[in-house]
Symmetry: C3
Subunit: 354 residues, 3 copies
Amino acid sequence: MEQQITLAALAGLLGGRLTDPARGQAVVRGFRALDAAGPTDLAFLWDAKYVAAARTSKAAAIVAREPVEGGASPTIVVADPQAAMLVLLGQVHARRHPPEPPGVHPRAFVHPEATLGEGVSIGPCAVVEAGARIGARTRVRAGAFVGLGVTIGQDCVLHPNATVLDHCALGDRVVIWSGAIVGKDGFGFVNQGGRHARVPQIGGVRIEDDVEVGALSTVARGALEDTVLRRGVKIDDHCHVAHNCDLGEDVMLIGYARMGGSVTMGKGSYLLQDAAIGQGLSVGEGGVVGSGAKARYDSVGPGERVLGDPARPHMLMKRIEGTLPKLPDMRRRLRALEKRVGKLDGQGAGDERD
Amino acid sequence: MEQQITLAALAGLLGGRLTDPARGQAVVRGFRALDAAGPTDLAFLWDAKYVAAARTSKAAAIVAREPVEGGASPTIVVADPQAAMLVLLGQVHARRHPPEPPGVHPRAFVHPEATLGEGVSIGPCAVVEAGARIGARTRVRAGAFVGLGVTIGQDCVLHPNATVLDHCALGDRVVIWSGAIVGKDGFGFVNQGGRHARVPQIGGVRIEDDVEVGALSTVARGALEDTVLRRGVKIDDHCHVAHNCDLGEDVMLIGYARMGGSVTMGKGSYLLQDAAIGQGLSVGEGGVVGSGAKARYDSVGPGERVLGDPARPHMLMKRIEGTLPKLPDMRRRLRALEKRVGKLDGQGAGDERD
Amino acid sequence: MEQQITLAALAGLLGGRLTDPARGQAVVRGFRALDAAGPTDLAFLWDAKYVAAARTSKAAAIVAREPVEGGASPTIVVADPQAAMLVLLGQVHARRHPPEPPGVHPRAFVHPEATLGEGVSIGPCAVVEAGARIGARTRVRAGAFVGLGVTIGQDCVLHPNATVLDHCALGDRVVIWSGAIVGKDGFGFVNQGGRHARVPQIGGVRIEDDVEVGALSTVARGALEDTVLRRGVKIDDHCHVAHNCDLGEDVMLIGYARMGGSVTMGKGSYLLQDAAIGQGLSVGEGGVVGSGAKARYDSVGPGERVLGDPARPHMLMKRIEGTLPKLPDMRRRLRALEKRVGKLDGQGAGDERD
């Protein structure tokens, strides 16, 4: 927080109630986790499983839905501690990372045929090419690239060294993190005379409102049609969206999640860390490809949860995982049984090969 | 296409025959897939498995090897529909992504001791260091970096924010995508006094003609000798070529494919998506490390196809994959058998541990 | 080496003894591996398993702990051939990659409120934001980004197009490779009204001395507390350190290694290539998560070595791996046994489902 605020003022700011008004003038200087907080830190409790940590916390105060009984810290009781946390963290974040002042930095290059909305900021060594149109208050930070004919909505952020290639279209409040590459040609090749011949990719990338693309993630442009990220898609770092994929609203990709071309993901579905889904397959609404799972052969149904490589229904894969450590022993037992049965039926152990 | 062309003109351009000359003046404005094409779109059919889609297509015309019977769209019959497609897509692509005008952008930095061929273009905020030599018509786009003593052939493209570090050598028609890093020091450390000591990497990277390195892929320089990518190697996004690897002609790496140091890959071999091969191993000519397969322990022979982790022959791994879902049930059946045999031979179930 | 040195001079430089003084005036021009070295190359032998290669080497001389008997090349005998190699390679490396001259390149942007130590060099199109403090002799190469309030120690290198975002703190002799992103906001979201709401990340990244972060690797900033990389951590390319992780001294991450949030790694522990460890878990001192292993469910103890997905003790996983190819055959044998036992006890094969 880098400045101080009293518990009474905090309670007022959050529309909450301080359980120990006598401490209203105690001062908070920062936020920390329940177990790390000291006497000038605020902490938050919104998940009942951390009640014990709240009771032993040394925080100046704990923001929670109900008073934390039996601990040393007073509670600031609010209706939604999580929402309160987002508000307060957002204020601190905004103070730590103030937006650049509007305007084109003298070391930026903006093509004269680009159009910038009101309050746009273009950072040093950023480049905006011809025909680009950038909406109000959008920040193109240092070293970021905006290609030919790209359209970007309002209140977006392209972080330092982000790259949005020619003709991509971004909605409002889109965040592209450093090192992300949007609009690279999809990896399309055909065999021509025994060599790999590039298929020119003439589709685009269409990104709707409130999408976040993580650091060092790639969104490839479509071959003929567009690759589409719908409203609210959130992509972590090191992920890959291939050409012609269509990611539904609120889809989430966790680190290193990836897909083949022309994959369709339904609303609110997930690829967890390191999950993959093969070319042309789909994930239904609310479906989950589990951590490290590879949906190579089959699509994933609505609400279905798969695990493993190749991916299988989650519960089946858990049973397989649980049995695998028994496998070497099962082999030994099978051999022992064959010998015993051989003695019983006089046909020998029955398998010469093992 | 962003402009229009008649079917008759298209047929002429492709050296093909329009099956319904009465429609020669119909106008095409773009390309789309067979099932998405509308009455001003052209579509292509080169794989017999899409004949049904061609019959129900609403395209202005379909470019195909033989007339598409039974559909509403006329056919432009050509000898090689795939080659025709590449030509037309290439024209559209060139129009959508026109090369930058030749010359050094006023916001670029080119060291006075660098040498630029005829028609070279250096984009805004691109940097070319001392001793670099760049061949005719090569484009170093915005924000790209060309290090000390790098040599680049003719007609290459370094896309925005690509990085080619000191002393790497690139042939002709090489494409380096945004965010790719060529010539990073290989990850070589030795133990010196209980700490990791860096082994200075003094090899280079040699990239032959017609190679493509995808977005956010890395090619590490060699320890003593060069890392080599031979003619026609195509690398997708997020891949890694380690120090001292030697990738043969027309090798293809699909997304996230990676390898340990000193790997050798034979001509026309593949690492499919997320495949890996361990340090010092090799893939023979035409060999394929399947999607997600990890060739940890053994090299892959010429023409061999492996799957799984650890990688095994493709057909064996498919059989293992097919049997795995039976594993929990096999354990139950094994236990049941032990009991039955115990009753028969009076020696008990035979295994106390399970 | 790009210049020449005599064997006598080399022996002097390394404090070693040339076994064949008559060859003292022979000239060395470079280093190569034992089997690739020619008559003007120096080679090194420090691992006894390469003695045979040393005997057949054509090198001008071999640097080794003892004279190589039976070969054509003389030996330069030194106490520690590996240390000798590091010294010589370091000299060559420094000559091939000379540091940029101190000073701010006219095409760089350094905010007037940033502080640069003695001998700092800031390359063309690099950007240093307000409040940054950069220690003596640190090199910020072309296109690299140093954010608001970042502190960097002495003798660091930020390679071209590296990105260090706001408020991160780096120690001395830290190396950040091209395309690496340090200080990206961790991927923290909560469900608010059915949508993914960003949790503002107000922690930082603290990197101690002698850390190396590879090309295209990410180190996310903490949610509330800092993400920490302790002295001597070495990170390869394409790796990911999530928010609030704490990597102990001399930890090593090999290519594509990754982790969930709040992971703790003990001193000298490893994630090998493509290894992963789940949120909140830990690796004890000297523990090893093997190549491709995924420690999803359990932490890894001190000195423990795990393998597989999900990760299991190394020796158990090797036994499972060794048994897996037998699995299809085990199923066949199990069925055969059931039939034989059915004949013996008259209860049938016992399993109708398979």
